[in-house]
């Protein structure tokens, strides 16, 4: 009965061609989907000459995929930093706008000079006080920006942690399916694609390392080695802080009970958006804040009033610029965290708060009732000595706290300028780094897509081949049918 064997073979060819066509259709349908891999039908010859689709596999490249994961994490971390630094740049803006604290210190010096040239001029006094108020407000606003940024970074960290947990839960579901399906011998290629995509999502949030095991099972660790998934998803936990002040310290993110962000910990994650956000919240923003605080402290120190009695006995007190700790002076050369947020122009000298602007010229701002701090004892309208003294003080070197990360000793405006330098240099290098990481990511993603993606032209040619083979098989079936019919006729 060889004819019927031929018929069986032709029939198996027909059904195999149909299977292969469906795979071509799947490939074509998902050609534009990022992360979808090309599916390949593996054929085996059956006993008796038939064929069948034994299994479906996918085009994959583990090395390229690992590279993609790494590049995704690195790029996400840098991008978070660059975005945040761009936000901080709002406190400086284009130098042409003279909006930075450094430029406003300069403007205050200019206003003091104009006032010193016409000390009898009440308008010049008011404009000098207004310049001081602008500066104080700019420092307050910059503190607001920095702390807002930290609050938002903290919120994004919470969102990121939430995202990681959701993705890990999905990962668990998909991974279980894959293991089961593989054991059953089912087609798991679409599930594998999905799992890869979930993993890419996780790697954008936190750097990961994977270990593949039998039955297509996979375990996921952070790049520092903390378990995120091993048979079961591990909990990533984080306590969000809803409001930040300069003195607030944000909470640490734990994965499987082990800290993966923060300063102390042996298994801190090295990349991913979470790391970038933590760096902003815990390093960049606080450093910039301490620079602002030091500028504020420098101002309070520069404009302090001293006892003018013949034999001075009273301590120095904050003058034009004051803060919550007045009348005590902030300790010299020591950072007062959050000072830039509370610095303000003394109401006694601010006309808009009912004060008298000429006290800037005469002294006695700290306490108008205490004559010891009055510099212009005769009340002369042309007294410019105190103003000149202030201008000189602005140009005098003073010491700054090393924790601000800038020069230890400088003039106030020099310090403020170097803060601008610090921020812009951080931006420049972070931005260059981010561009580089983004390019790497693009490369990695390109390389992977090139290898694992679908080529429409190839699928089309494959389809032509299948069409031909289908036509041939049907021809075979009809021919054998004719032959069998002839045989029956001859027998009949």
């Amino acid at each position: 009965m060889t004819l019927s064997i031929g018929l069986d073979a032709a029939l198996s060819a027909l059904s195999t061609t149909a299977d292969q066509t469906s795979i071509v259709s799947r490939n074509v349908a998902r050609a534009g989907e990022p992360g979808a891999s090309r599916k390949i039908a593996n054929l085996v010859t059956l006993q008796g000459g038939g064929v069948k689709v034994a299994s479906v596999t996918r085009a994959a490249n583990a090395a390229l995929y690992d590279k993609l994961l790494g590049a995704t994490s690195d790029s996400a971390a840098q991008k978070a930093i660059v975005d945040a630094l761009d936000r901080l740049d709002a406190t400086i803006n284009d130098p042409e706008l003279d909006a930075s604290p450094a430029a406003l210190v300069g403007k205050l010096a200019d206003a003091l000079h104009t006032y010193a040239t016409s000390p009898q001029d009440a308008a010049a006094a008011r404009s000098a006080v207004a310049a001081a108020a602008d500066l104080a407000q700019a420092l307050n606003a910059a503190t607001g920006t920095v702390q807002q940024l930290r609050t938002e970074a903290d919120g994004e960290m919470a969102a990121s942690v939430g995202n990681i947990n959701t993705l890990l839960a999905r990962f668990e579901t998909v991974n279980t399916e894959i293991v089961k399906g593989t054991r059953r011998g089912a087609d798991v290629t679409d599930l594998l694609d999905e799992r890869d995509q979930i993993l890419t999502g996780i790697s954008a949030e936190v750097g990961v390392r994977t270990v593949s095991r039998g039955d297509n099972d996979m375990a996921v660790y952070t790049d520092s080695g903390v378990t995120l998934f091993d048979v079961k998803a591990r909990a990533v936990t984080f306590d969000r802080t809803y409001s930040f002040s300069a003195t607030t310290t944000g909470n640490v993110v734990y994965a499987d009970g082990v800290p993966i962000t923060g300063n102390s910990g042996r298994m801190l994650a090295g990349s991913g958006r979470l790391t970038g956000l933590a760096a902003i919240r815990d390093t960049y923003a606080p450093t910039y804040q301490s620079q602002l605080d030091e500028i504020a402290r420098g101002l309070i120190t520069t404009f302090a009033e001293s006892d003018q009695s013949a034999t001075p006995t009273l301590p120095d007190v904050p003058g034009l610029f004051t803060y919550s700790g007045a009348p005590a002076m902030p300790a010299s050369g020591t950072l007062v965290v959050g000072l830039a947020g509370s610095i303000k122009v003394n109401a006694n000298v601010d006309p808009s708060q009912g004060g008298n602007a000429t006290r800037l010229r005469d002294g006695g701002i700290s306490n108008p009732g205490n004559p010891a701090y009055v510099y212009n004892s005769t009340g002369a309208a042309g007294f410019s000595q105190r103003l000149e003294q202030l201008i000189d003080a602005l140009g005098t070197q003073q010491s700054f706290d090393a924790s601000a990360g800038l020069v230890a000793s400088s003039t106030l405006s020099g310090f403020a300028s170097s803060s601008v330098s610090w921020l812009q240099e951080s931006r420049k290098s972070a931005s260059a780094d981010s561009d580089y990481k983004a390019a790497l990511l693009e490369r990695a993603s390109d390389a992977l897509t090139k290898v694992t993606g679908v080529n429409l032209d190839e699928e089309m040619t494959l389809l032509l081949e299948l069409e031909r083979s289908y036509q041939a098989s049907t021809r075979l079936v009809t021919t054998i049918d004719n032959m069998l019919a002839a045989l029956l006729q001859a027998a009949g």
């Binding site: 130098p95 430029a103 010193a116 016409s118 812009q424 420049k428 693009e442 040619t461």
Partner: protein, 352 residues
């Protein structure tokens, strides 16, 4: 399977991502061409951004000093003009004294002239400029010299009257002053009368000026005195000379006593003139310094402007040629995208 394989999405994706980058650069180049400055100064300069901020600060500082120097210079000009008028007044009074000395009838005339000169002196010393009393030291809001001729008599006139009565037992208007001997008058002039013009008495009866002169910063490092005050010896001497002839009963004095006063006044005016010249020289040298400082700061401002330009600016030719290159590239990318879209086997398959 195949030796070289490439996914379709990789082909179109390559053009797409490079197109995005090109467009981002295009926006940047456009801004740079329009403004002539870097699109994002801070990002491009990095740590050098602090430099341009400092330079801008210094630039505006110099600019504000230059501006205020304009005011200082015009104040100095006004002071110089007033000093010149003082000197001219004193000079012409000197001439009148010479004429009056040997004439019997001139005493009444010179008394009137002296009164006028004293009034002129007071006016000049009280010159204000832009709301600032020029000769009041740092007490710029008060007119420094008390009006001698005011009624009721001011402190300075009263002090002279008291001293006169104490010395001679009669008032200046008493006809008996004719009996005052030249020697007695000489003693009075050198003693009690001169004491009225010593710094302490001057400050309490004549002058409200402060001894301290106004100081102005005429460059970042120079803080100089830019005024002279009415307490200066020259002013006191001038006032005393005018007063001698204006209010010591000159008209009724004996000829010899009158001559003694004229001689003394001549000496004192001469001294005062020397003093005024010294003051003119002092202010003159300050004017010179202001001018020099302005020139110097002008040069510094130019240097800073060009330095800021060098840091923040872009070469307009480079920027615009970059812009046109980018435009060409973007156009090419568009054309390529369109061509690649057409490049598919589907177009060549027979349709049935």
């Amino acid at each position: 399977m195949t030796s070289t394989f490439i996914a379709s999405s990789a082909v179109s994706g390559a053009v797409r991502s490079s197109l995005m980058k090109l467009q981002a650069k295009l926006a940047e180049a456009q801004k740079e061409v329009a403004t002539g400055r870097l699109a994002d100064v801070g990002l491009s300069l990095g740590f050098k951004a602090g430099q341009t901020v400092s330079l801008r600060q210094e630039h505006s500082r110099l600019q504000s000093i230059t501006d205020s120097n304009g005011l200082v210079a015009s104040r100095l000009d006004a002071s110089q003009a007033a000093l010149k008028a003082f000197a001219e007044g004193a000079q012409s009074f000197l001439g009148q004294l010479v004429v009056a000395r040997n004439s019997d009838t001139a005493a009444a005339t010179i008394e009137g002239q002296a009164k006028a000169a004293l009034a002129g002196f007071t006016d000049l010393a009280n010159t204000t400029f832009n709301g600032v009393a020029l000769f009041a030291g740092i007490n710029t809001d008060v007119k420094p010299i008390t009006d001698y001729a005011s009624s009721p008599p001011a402190a300075n006139a009263l002090a002279v009257a008291n001293a006169f009565t104490t010395a001679f037992g009669i008032s200046q208007s008493n006809a008996a002053v004719a009996s005052i001997t030249p020697a007695a008058m000489q003693t009075f002039l050198d003693g009690a009368f001169a004491n009225l013009f010593d710094p302490t008495a001057w400050s309490s009866t004549w002058s409200a000026a402060a001894d301290q002169n106004t100081k102005s910063r005429i460059s970042t490092s120079e803080l100089v005195e830019t005024s002279v005050n009415a307490n200066d010896e020259a002013f006191r001497k001038l006032a005393s000379a005018y007063t001698m002839l204006a209010d010591l009963g000159t008209a009724n004095l004996s000829q010899t006593t009158y001559q003694a006063i004229v001689d003394k006044a001549t000496l004192v005016v001469g001294d005062a003139l020397q003093g005024i010249t010294a003051l003119q020289a002092k202010l003159g040298s300050v004017q010179e310094r202001v001018k020099n400082a302005d020139t110097r700061m002008g040069i510094e401002i130019d240097i800073m402007t060009s330095h800021i330009g060098a840091l923040e600016g872009v070469d307009p030719y480079e920027a615009s040629s970059r812009l046109s290159t980018l435009l060409t590239q973007v156009e090419t990318a568009y054309a390529m995208t369109a061509r690649i879209q057409q490049l598919t086997l589907l177009n060549y398959l027979p349709t049935r």
